[in-house]
Amino acid sequence: DVKVTQSSRYLVKRTGEKVFLECVQDMDHENMFWYRQDPGLGLRLIYFSYDVKMKEKGDIPEGYSVSREKKERFSLILESASTNQTSMYLCASSHDYSSYEQYFGPGTRLTVT
């Protein structure tokens, strides 16, 4: 079974802090994704990576950056956390460009105070 793990289930950070969210998948998937999930808004794509060191902006990339130095690991970085970035963050992976069955991690609930 595909396993996607995220470094933290819950995080509390202060406004202005730099925040790192880590995601690791163990199935050699090409594609990895970061979403945020907010009530009533569904999942919204922040960034997408289709290969090591390659990335594409999603629908809401402002205030975020990403890093993919190894195939199995995809990091989301909040350069200067703000209260409007309080949310559930979900990482996902999929096998290749033609396969959009995405496998999700358990999520990180981030609170910025």
Binding site: L43, L45, Y50, E56, G58, L90, Y100, P106
Partner: protein, 114 residues
């Protein structure tokens, strides 16, 4: 604009009471429609992919169907363990790079009571 709308927002059923969840979409050239199940505090779990109108997929008490404008997730004789949020998503092109992305609806929260 590509959009996915799910209804109802919440649904309460008695055990054994069959019903359907709706997912309507507007997308330029459907490349795939996906159903996911999400339990509280967990990430979404993949259920089905549908690619063309008329296609149906089944898994235990769930059956997903697809038309040109909407998809239904039919739940037959549900049990309390079917309680979850069900998410619908459509595959749509990204604005750059020739890649596709998933556009998610807000979900339907299903509660099945004994």
């Amino acid at each position: 604009e590509d959009q996915v709308t799910q209804s109802p927002e919440a649904l309460r059923l008695q055990e054994g009471e069959s019903s359907s969840l709706n997912c309507s979409y507007t997308v330029s050239g459907l490349r795939g429609l996906f159903w996911y199940r999400q339990d509280p505090g967990k990430g979404p779990e993949f259920l089905f992919t549908l690619y063309s109108a008329g296609e149906e997929k089944e898994k235990e008490r769930l059956k997903a169907t697809l038309t040109k404008k909407e998809s239904f997730l039919h739940i037959t004789a549900p049990k309390p363990e079917d309680s979850a949020t069900y998410l619908c998503a459509v595959q749509a092109p990204m604005f750059s790079g020739g890649y596709n992305k998933l556009i998610f609806g807000a979900g339907t929260r299903l509660a099945v009571h004994p």
